[in-house]
């Protein structure tokens, strides 16, 4: 088509008009389907979070109404009595998390590499190694209580080597090691699965090129596979550290006096400390204050990990 001056004029196609009725109906269904989650989140997530923030500045014993106490709860964290106990809970938590996460990462990666081989019956091995991650936590911990008992499976094995094993879960010197063993066993499978998915998605052209250039299996792993797996490594690190710092179930179940942090507060972790203040000592305000400081610390740590990831996490198609 031309205009009056003979110039070609492209006829603009009319834009398809959005079907407003359909859009409205879709929106309605959208809200309808997300409503259960949204309501659940507002009442059981958002509201308690907001309430606990308010309680952090209050004195509240779970009965009656909270009374505003300003920063008293935060000062209490460093008083001569609560300060050392809280510090011990922090030390225990850090020791457990900073030992468990590297072990889970290393074992998860190692197992993923082994399970990515083309060997007969591999699905069975993969299922077997992932199984601990889907077994109910308390059930597997109970089995571990038996394995780590004074005459349990582990000590019987050590005895064969001439080693007199400790009473893992009841000795202040070894209780945290026992918790670490339980956590590594239960948490490695999930990390392994992420690494395995990453390994299977690696571009074969890069690995082939490295092989053509004469790189052996070790060099290919170290210089090609591992850098390409850093996104999975980063994901596992962030999730693993956050859940490691929040350890509670393992330390609660292994104790003969659940929630006490026995023996001698050596299994007392931060979340258990919060639990103890809230439900045993009825100090909901103080427990909320500790919980908020803990949350802020984990958020900061996660932010640091994201910030540092720019230096060591490599995405395949990034510029």
């Amino acid at each position: 088509m031309t205009d009056g001056q003979g110039r070609l004029q492209l006829r603009r196609r009319p834009r398809p008009q959005p079907n407003r009725k359909l859009a409205k109906r879709e929106a309605r269904w959208f809200y309808f389907f997300i409503a259960p989650w949204l309501i659940g989140f507002i009442f059981f997530g958002l509201w308690p979070i907001a309430a606990s923030f308010g309680l952090a500045f209050s004195d509240y014993d779970l009965g009656g109404w909270p009374s505003f106490v300003g920063l008293d709860n935060f000062e209490k964290m460093v008083d001569p009595v609560q300060g050392p106990v809280l510090a011990k809970a922090i030390r225990n938590t850090l020791f457990i998390a900073l030992t468990v996460v590297p072990l889970q990462l290393a074992l998860g990666l190692g197992l993923a590499v082994l399970l990515s081989q083309n060997v007969r019956g591999m699905p069975i091995f993969r299922t077997a190694f992932y199984l601990p991650s889907v077994v109910a936590g308390v059930a597997s911990i109970v089995v571990w209580i038996w394995i780590l008992g004074s005459d349990g499976l582990l000590n019987q094995g050590l005895e064969l080597l001439g080693i007199d094993g400790p009473v893992w879960l009841r000795d202040p010197a070894t209780v945290k090691l026992g918790v670490i063993i339980v956590m590594v066993w239960g948490g490695t499978g999930a990390m392994m699965l992420i690494f395995l998915a990453g390994l299977q998605g690696l571009p074969s052209e890069l690995l082939d090129a490295a092989a053509v250039d004469g790189a052996g299996p070790l060099r290919r792993f170290w210089h090609v596979k591992l850098p390409l797996l850093t996104p999975q490594l980063f994901f596992n690190l962030v999730i693993g550290l956050a859940s490691g710092l929040g350890v509670f179930t393992e330390t609660y179940v292994i104790s003969t006096d659940p929630g006490s942090g026995a023996p001698a507060n050596e299994s007392l972790t931060l979340v258990m400390y919060i639990y103890r203040q809230l439900l045993r000592n009825l100090q909901a305000g103080y427990a909320s204050a500790v919980a908020w400081v803990f949350t802020a610390a984990v958020a900061l740590l996660t932010a640091l990990q994201f910030w540092s990831s720019r230096r060591w996490v490599h995405y395949e198609y990034e510029n």
């Binding site: 809200y31 106990v85 004074s150 009473v167 202040p172 659940p258 023996p263 001698a264």
Partner: protein, 463 residues
Amino acid sequence: MLSMLGKLLQGRYRLLLAPVAVLALVMSACGNDDDGSGAGDTSTSEATAAAGPAPTQSAESVSLRVAYFNGAGQPEVDLREEQAAAFEALYPNVSITMEPVADWQTTLIPQISAGTAPDVLWGGTDDGYGQFVGLDAFLPLGSYVEADGYDLSAWPSSMIQHFSDSDGELLLLPTSNLSFNFLYYNKSIFDEAGMDYPDGSWSIDDLISVARELSVQDEQWGFGFAWDDLYQTWMRMYGCEFSDDPTFATDYTYNGPHCAEALAELDELSREGVINWDTGAQWGGLAPGDATGESAFSAGHVAMLLSGTWEAPTIADNSGGAFEFDAAAAPLDDGGRIQGAASGFGVYSGTDNPQWAWEYVKFIAGPQGQEAEAEIGIGQSPISSILDQVYCASDAPPESKCEVAKNGAANTVWEPLNDGWIPGFWDVITSAVQSGFTAGSAPDWQALLDDAVEDSRIAGPLL
């Protein structure tokens, strides 16, 4: 206002408001559907007690939830279920749901805070009774007692006083006065060693020397605690006082005379592997299978076990007649006392059925209910006639239960009722003492307790 609401409902907010409206409907459906008096309305409840119809005249169907601390295992569960069935048979319109609870405070406190606790609540002096009172968990029973003309004279007045609030209103009907002075002993172990059984004449030194003699490293333990916190009873046996006042304390005194001495002796026994308990695990405190307490004693690994009367039916069941056992009163030094626990049942302040809950409290905590407990030997009735005529006369083991229970009743001391007792005493002393018992070498117990008392004063001020 209404037109604004109408606009909102017609407009685009309708979709957002719809789920909220649905939730509100659901919540109102789940909520209180009675006359609108609301849970926790004590004044209404009291008025009902005074003026309402007697429950026997009402055919309205009622559901009651009853929570109790289950310390005696299956025999107690069976008893409570039988009691519930008997009440239901008496009042067919009432249906009872029994809720045995093992972790009492952690389970019940959130329910009380949320207003969803069971209608009838157990309470015990060593299970946070003071905290429960602080939370107004129990309905004052004065008006109900008065309306029924209920006779409390059978109970020791000291106990009624202990379970009354500051206005003198009864909160719990006491059912049991348990003393942790039952020194169970395995007759076979004593017979094999050719030693005399324990009796009320023993001193603590006798107990210690016999326990040492009957111990075989990692095979047999001369002495054991049913649960590790009984180190506190051990301290009491020496004459250690935990606070300046046994009811409403104003200061912690567990660093006073005999306290450090008791712990030092216990520490020595623990390090020698004479005591079967978790806290001494690293010194050989655990029986095969890491068993402690009743299970180690019932398996025949422990010569003497400190516990209470409720342990006997379980020991009889679990030992399966492999050995004979009896009990003697735990020895006391001059001025020594026995840690005990008094308990009872009360009405939850937030119940919708206070009158029926009170009826049930009377049913299980009154003389008839206490007789049932006494017959199977899981409770020491505070009513002396029941103790004499039912508990002492019953066939329930152990044989010497009567004299042990009476000795206990005469020497028992309960925990103070202060709100700050748990964070001040329990939290502090537990970790301090555990660190002492598990330290590489025996600590200076006096210094350790002095420090702990200072910490207690800050963590749980009693004034």
